[in-house]
Amino acid sequence: MTDMAEYTSGTEGNNMLIIGGRGVLLLLFLSLLALMLGRYPIGPSQIGDIILSRAGDPAPGIILLNVRLPRVLAALFTGAALSGAGALLQTVFKNPMVSPSVMGASSGAAFGAALAILLGLSPWLIQGGAFLAGTLAVATAMGVASFSSRRSRILMLVLAGMLVSTFFTALISLVKFTADPLNTLPSITYWLMGSLSGSEIGGTLFTGTVVLFCGILLYSLRWRITALSLDEDELLTMGINPAPYRYGVILCASLMTSAAVSQSGVIGWVGLVVPHLVRLIRPEGRFGDLFLRSLFGGAAYLLLIDTAVRTLTPLEFPLGIMTALIGAPFFAFVLLRKRGGAL
């Protein structure tokens, strides 16, 4: 009720602080919990000792700082990136079924990584290759769409994204076909299933930088993006030429997606489930609020699932399988509650 009052008052500064504040508190709490949980439980006092570097035994410190911290950060950044990109693309394409993978970023990035693994490159180059190939895939889709007429361009962007996706998926199969079935193929397959288990602090910080940069840029553009949800004709007569913003914003979302996929492999459904859940709970939100809530919500969602995956099962269950297993029925529930697919 109070939120509705703030919403109608027209000032949004408060909204940003409230959502941001609550989001940060939630993520801090969940992160602390995730850092303590695991096969080797670490208590709050031990964490204090490690931070103050007065712990006697080095093992908890190594587990906490070299294993769990990068993994927790990776879950936060990846979840935020996929969910934020989903919320953004659904708005810009005016289509509730669009997900971050639609522009070809996911399959492009997956191909880049698979190729790098096939060539036996270092983890850094695997991530770099994934990021570059993901961006390249989206650029290709945009290039194809730019040849279409103005009125059908939004549809063409989605179709071109699907074409590029299909193309890169075929290339991934080609890489798998030529890979050594004894060691390269399993590692490619495992990577494609999506997991955060190998997260290192360097790659995580790279992903984090991209996600933060794009997230801040997109949030600053929130009113232009709100305008982008109107019809092209309306926008043009309102003095806004949507084309450059649309391309810029889609590119930004794709950079976020590529960064996430290069970090974690292909993790589906986050970009679809979380923004829809946010809209189910807060249907009246502005784009800025929806985007912020999706970023925080996505981070929390993926951190919860990843923590569950590594604590509840004795073997490392690939994260991508869990997000799909949980995501699909959950999405059905969300859709049924909404009674329809309106944005």
Binding site: Y7, G10, W223, R224, T226, S229, I240, E284, A342, L343
Partner: protein
Amino acid sequence: MRESVLSLENLTLGYGGKTVVRDISFEVERGSVVTLLGANGEGKTTIIRAVCQLKIPRRGRVCADGKDLSQLKHGERASLVSYVPQSHKPGLPLSVRDMVVLGRQYCRGLFAEPSREDYDRADRVLERLTLGGRGGELFTSLSGGEQRLVLIARALVQSARYMVLDEPVANLDMGNQIRVLRVIEELAREGTGILMSSHFPQHSLWLRSRAVILHRGGILARGEAEDVITGENLTRIYGTPIAVVRDGEGTAYCGPRPEEPERNTLKEMII
């Protein structure tokens, strides 16, 4: 080339191999209403789209206050001509106020959020359009007539000198039709030049507007509504007998007469 007019100069418009209108010209003065009448497919919407620079003419041009609209930047154009679409496909679940302030986006920076002043202006306009206090509601929760008024409000905050409306009373009940017509009348009185398309010739008469009647790719008649909206002209453009009748107070009404002969031929055909 004249100041204070929106002028359509020798416009020829078409799609693919088909020419919809050929070499038509007329003007909309500031402070007046011009109604575009014509049967379906005669090019009313096409002309509206050409005026808003959404459709590139084969020949001819559109000028506002002496400036060729096709040569202007999007923002400059928006300060001269605003557009009220026939319908709005809902995207984000926007509140009424947010929907209206988007009309001010073109004079704000890329990263700017709508200012206090923008919201105040939106509130004043909504108040005028009998939607005061409804700003916090969701746009999609309003009735069709109210949504139309919000779209007019959004065009109004643009502060353009001319407003172009594509069938502003389509799909509205009679009460809402009058509500929208009142607003249009008032805007014209305050100095906005208004071009609207319509399927209701009597509205043109009620507004004491000027009318442009389209027929077979050209202009059949134009002038004061009183003079050109006649049973004869309407019968010709709609292809069915139409009567213009006046009540005791002199208010005009237009309507079709049921066509007996055709019904007979239909009966004969069935037999």
